[in-house]
Amino acid sequence: MPKITVPLGPQHPALKEPGSFLLCLEGEQIVDATLRLGYNHRGVEKAAESRNYIQAMYLIERVCGICSHAHATAYVTNVEELAGVDIPKRAKAIRVIIGELERLHSHLLWLGVAAHEIGFDTLFMYSWRDREMVMDALETISGNRVHYSMNTLGGVRRDITAEQVKSVLSKVEALERRIKYYIELATEEPTVIARTKGVGVLPKDEAIKRCAAGPLARASGVARDTRKDDPYLIYNELDFKLITSDACDVFGRLYVRAFEMLESCKILKQVLNWLPEGAISIKIPVKLPPGQAVNRYEAPRGEDVHYLKSDGGLNPARVKVRAPTLANFASVDYMLKGDQLADAPLIIAAIDPCISCTDRATIITPSGTGIMIWQDMRAHGIEFYKRKGIDFSKVKVM
């Protein structure tokens, strides 16, 4: 059978964000897949270097519209580590509350998208309607639905009042009932099972080899969760289960995310009922001592790694973000191979890709085509700064 290559994206109705997938088909079956990223590069890391620490926090919050709290928290944790301060416990608890609400909101959103991709639009509508409860809870606490801006250097910006606790608790309880219904629906409805079982298989050894993160790894039986492996904030004091599944397919990913939502509700109820008293923030100096810090945060999509370097000045010297989707993209081509073309959008959606998080670098060659290797890119960068009049005579160029 002759092979044909079908491009999926960068602009495609089945994809919510620009990513390009070149699928090589034999009939309906995908035999090879190539991935191209870089359509959504915004230069956030570089832009952060020209802002002071507090300005950069608002910028980093906007790396992603869904994991905005995840990125901001990972960043401020680095700042606090460099400043050598330990923030008040109440601030940590509030960060956990927002973080878990964010996970609920992200997983419900994913459930809707996945339902839409398998053609079950009723579930899509219902899950998005119920997601409004989380959005309302977030709005009650933080004032906004998407960019909560709860973090500040050294704590959180707003306290949670007793009334807010009550209203959020009632929403979490209502949501828990709905999530239980969705779990039933997603695990028992034959159409969902037929569309997700055996689709996009990623065996455990392959998941480990390809450094899969978050729900993708856990759905392949890899028990990996930063909240358990390297507890931050107050996660070591909380009681929750690490959800894994041995299904290794899209169904497993659905299962893991659905049960993780229940765990998030459990965490929320614990923290809201035992909110520690005290201050919500402490002062952080405008200038940080020179040094570097790396921190990990379990974002809804997986492990989010942030690096921060300070040279003692007003602005960060370097900010680096490794979003979970970048780790998960390495598994996508493997999962696509052997599956049907019609399943491609579902397989891609099953890692819950966030392209705007992921696009950290873009490769521009002078001619506009081809790939630039690291050495060339470095030489290109030096050439670029030389043209701007920067003196390289004292710099050792390797």
Binding site: I54, Y58, T122
Partner: protein, 139 residues
């Protein structure tokens, strides 16, 4: 265990429910308590420290002194009183990300967050939100 028609009961129930969609803009929306929208400036309070400008992530706020020409007064007994500095403020609504960092950082509480969120305009010039100092308006 596969059980068909799992969603059927839910679908029937929802037939008799009120729509979940909120009827904005026909019905007005009331934002939450901490909602951050248009920033208001009180010129009498401002001391011109510039903290708001320094920390604004979007470079959207500009505080300018309106009376740099005013000279310090010398009293008969030789004491010098510096001229009272007066400031006006312009916020570029097209740049502002409504984070309210400026409100938080202001030592004199000269800035406040309001819940006016319907700020769209057809003319970009209308997005320059200017707060004049009362003395400037009289001139």
């Amino acid at each position: 265990m596969a059980k068909p028609l799992k969603a059927f009961g839910e679908v029937l129930k929802n037939l008799f429910k009120k729509p979940a969609t909120s009827q904005y803009p026909v019905k007005k929306h009331t934002p939450a308590q901490h909602y951050r929208a248009r920033i208001k400036f009180t010129p009498e309070e401002c001391i011109g420290c510039g903290i708001c400008m320094r920390n604004c992530p979007a470079a959207a706020i500009k505080i300018t002194q309106i009376n740099p020409q005013d000279k310090p007064q010398t009293l008969p007994d030789g004491k010098v009183i510096p001229a009272k500095r007066k400031f006006k403020c312009v916020i570029d609504l097209s740049k502002c990300i409504y984070c309210a960092q400026c409100v938080e950082g202001c030592p004199k509480k000269a800035l406040k967050s309001t819940d006016e969120f319907e700020l769209a305009a057809f003319d970009k010039n209308k997005l320059q939100d200017e707060f004049k100092h009362p003395d400037e308006t009289q001139k």
